[in-house]
Amino acid sequence: MSQDGHHSVVIPAPGPEFVPHTVAHHFDTPVQEFQAAKLGFWLFLATEILLFGGLFAAYFYYHDLYPETFKVGGQQLDWKLGAINTSVLLLSSWTMAMGVRSAQTSQKRKTLMFCALTVVGAAIFMVIKFFEYKAKTEHGLFVFPHMFDGYQVDTATMTGSLPWFTDVHNVMVDATGAPLPHGHLFFAIYVTMTAIHGLHVIIGAGLILWVMKGVAKGRFHAGYYLPVDLVGLYWHLVDLIWIFLFPLLYLVP
């Protein structure tokens, strides 16, 4: 609502291929709307950081408790694939930042191009992730098809076994060949962390596709590019999390 309390503020379209934006009625100015939405979104990102942070806390906790298991476990991961994925995400962060910039400068086609490239980056990331998970299944380190089979207890020998951790090549052993304590734990945490991250990659890609729809309709331009900006922030967060995940899981061990 404008200061006189009656009309909504309208931001005019900067060109014929764009449409004007009507500021929400409970805001007095576009600046207020922009800053309120941005602050709200940063608060949401803070919650995501805390949610993922919990997983990192669990990682550090068990890394401290079972250092050998984590060292050997990390060596089973392919650091080259991890490095490629890191570069892919960094590049996609760059294309997303360029996409936001193009929206800020009302360059419709460039905005669409950069957003599309970002989605391509997301797709490449997920494909590589798929191959990594496939390798884990083949090596018996996390057999996805048996994921939900439950912990089996053999009451005769009082031993337990996890159907999804078969360690086909017997890699989770220490120098003497004895099994490392709780070898499955590293891979459980690895899969949990990367899967939740992967879910956010997919959600981010979906959001970017939604934004592209709006860009194509001319809704986003120099006068109003808020959704592009906010989705961009989400995508950068996804990149941020991976920046920490990669060395932690693949390199430190």
Binding site: G5, H25, Q32, T47, L51, Y151
Partner: protein, 551 residues
């Protein structure tokens, strides 16, 4: 504060009077798709109110069962489910969401001179997340319930063959409802204040909700990840909390209490905010120590993140961690005491009106003093080693959660009832109900302090006969408490059907919420109010408005 021109037009007949938020549109869909913070507040009020009554019913079942030492109603397994339901419903469906969701939603934008919260669609989403949490909780009961206690500790929550994942999902939804409400309130407070409304002219209820919102945003996500990890443990055995698989159950407790301790401040800070408003209005006197109270809310919020280990003194964490947690726990008493003293100092030599909101407030001040002090006792490491998991703890948290928070909620409900609905309830019945609740409450929980200190463990379906007198007394008190609550529900509902018209400014408040028409119109303010005076300046009060009925 400047006064608002009343929208009442004496030249028009009643049916031509301007519409307000309740009757400006009708029909199920107008409510289900509303973006109006006031209507969302009403929906929260109904939802959390029903959850409170359900949780209360479970409580009465618990107390009835404990009438006899070998348990009167249930098997041990059933008893575990009943007290779990009582705790889970109360904590997650009522105490955490009720005040911010209902009174906060209703009053915060009004107090800021805003037309709505900053993100109205997110507000509606928050409500639907609450609703989905409630539906999932009901579903979990239908699927066999859960018997882990509201704290669903590992490893039992990993092994029990109950609907743990379902209730976990419910709590996850409720958590996000809480996060989004907090997010919304923070943005609203920063960005939608009326011209002239500086931070130190904001009513203290706003400060309290702001501090609460910080906690909601920063602490709740850790509960989210905890629930996810428990669900993953149950679904595919990751081994993160399961000792059979190398996990550490104490890690679960760290994760759980990292949220759940700030959570109790999420519960109590809004209650403190209500009390701050009410002691001022009903003594017609500015708050003593306004800035101290404002900063103490922030201090409590920050300190609350440093003390969670005091719930874990017997869990096996390191002695050094326990020293640290116990030491830090004492600090939270300081800002809390500042509030209690400031409230009493506000009332001192004020023009005290002993109406029902004020009676609930006075009851709060007495009960909270006991609740808070027993908290300090429990924070002492050496004493807690004996009192942990006894009825002493149960009595302490009921003194703060029921006797303080719920009572503050009732106080706020009575205080803003005329503003929300334009009607007044039966004041005599309200005073009676307050007295019955006060007596019943203390009768229920004082015996619990005593038997707790003598070693009666909590969450036990049966007990040694020595404790029977205390349990019986407590159960009788619970019946009295329950009837007081029932009476309160009765006259409040009755007021909606046959209540007298409220005054334009029923109690003589001077904050912006009392400057809107009663009930407020959809847009709250026809013109953005401009604030030129300090916040609790009663010299600006128009006494006529306290004696002029609406409509």
């Amino acid at each position: 504060m400047t006064t608002q021109a009343p929208v009442l037009d004496t030249n028009k007949s009643h049916s031509e009077q301007p519409k307000h938020y309740l009757n400006c549109s009708s029909g199920f869909w107008s409510w289900a798709s509303t973006l109006d913070h006031k209507r969302i507040g009403i929906m929260y009020l109904i939802g959390t109110g029903l959850a409170f009554l359900a949780g209360g019913l479970f409580a009465l079942l618990v107390r009835l069962h404990l009438w006899q030492p070998d348990g009167m109603l249930f098997s041990n397994d059933q008893y575990n489910q009943i007290f779990t339901l009582h705790g889970a419903f109360m904590v997650f469906l009522f105490v955490i969401p009720a005040i911010p969701g209902s009174l906060g939603n209703m009053v915060l934008p009004l107090m800021l001179g805003a037309k709505d919260v900053a993100l109205p669609r997110l507000n509606l989403l928050s409500f639907y997340l609450w609703l989905s949490g409630a539906v999932l909780a009901a579903l979990a009961i239908a699927m066999g319930g859960f018997d882990t206690g509201w704290t669903f500790y590992a490893p039992y929550s990993l092994y029990t063959n109950k609907a743990v994942v379902t209730i976990g999902l419910a709590i996850f939804m409720l958590g996000f409802s809480s996060i989004f409400t907090g997010l919304n309130f923070i943005v609203t407070t920063h960005k939608l204040r009326a011209p002239g409304l500086t931070w130190f002219r904001m009513p203290l209820f706003v400060w309290a909700l702001y501090a609460t919102s910080l906690l909601q945003v920063l602490a709740t996500p850790v509960l989210g990840i905890t629930i996810l990890l428990v669900a993953f443990e149950r679904l595919y055995n990751i081994g993160i909390f399961d000792p059979r698989l190398g996990g550490d159950p104490v890690l679960f407790e760290h994760f759980f209490w990292f949220y759940s301790h700030p959570a109790v401040y999420i519960m109590v800070l809004p209650a403190f905010g209500i009390i701050s408003e009410l002691v001022s209005v009903h003594s017609r006197k500015p708050l003593f120590g306004y800035k101290l109270i404002a900063f103490s809310s922030l201090a409590i919020a920050i300190i609350s993140f440093l003390v969670w280990g005091h719930h874990m003194f017997t869990s096996g964490q390191s002695t050094y961690a326990m020293f640290a947690f116990s030491f830090l726990t004492f600090f939270v008493a300081i800002p809390t005491a500042i509030k209690e003293f400031s409230w009493v100092a506000t009332i001192w030599k004020g023009s005290i009106a002993l109406n029902s909101p004020m009676l609930y407030t006075l009851a709060f001040l007495i009960i909270f003093a006991i609740g808070g002090l027993t908290g300090v006792i429990l924070g002492s490491l050496n004493v807690d080693l004996h009192l942990h998991d006894t009825y002493f703890v149960v009595a302490h948290f009921h003194y703060v959660m029921m006797g303080s928070i719920a009572l503050a909620f009732f106080a706020g409900l009575h205080h803003w009832w005329p503003k929300m609905f334009g009607v007044m309830y039966n004041e005599t019945l309200a005073k009676i109900a307050c007295l019955v609740i006060f007596v019943g409450f203390n009768a229920t929980f004082i015996p619990q302090f005593i038997m707790g200190s003598q070693g009666m463990p909590r969450r036990y379906a049966t007990y040694v006969p020595e404790f029977q007198p205390y349990h019986s007394a407590s159960t009788m008190g619970a019946m009295v408490l329950g009837s007081g609550v029932a009476l309160m529900v009765f006259y409040l509902v009755a007021s909606l059907l046959t209540g007298k018209k409220a005054m334009q400014n029923q109690w003589g408040g001077v904050t912006l919420d009392w400057h809107t028409p009663t009930p407020p119109p959809l847009e709250n303010f026809a013109h953005a109010p401009k604030v030129t005076t300090e916040v609790y300046d009663y010299s600006t009060l128009d006494l006529k408005s306290t004696q002029t009925p609406i409509g």
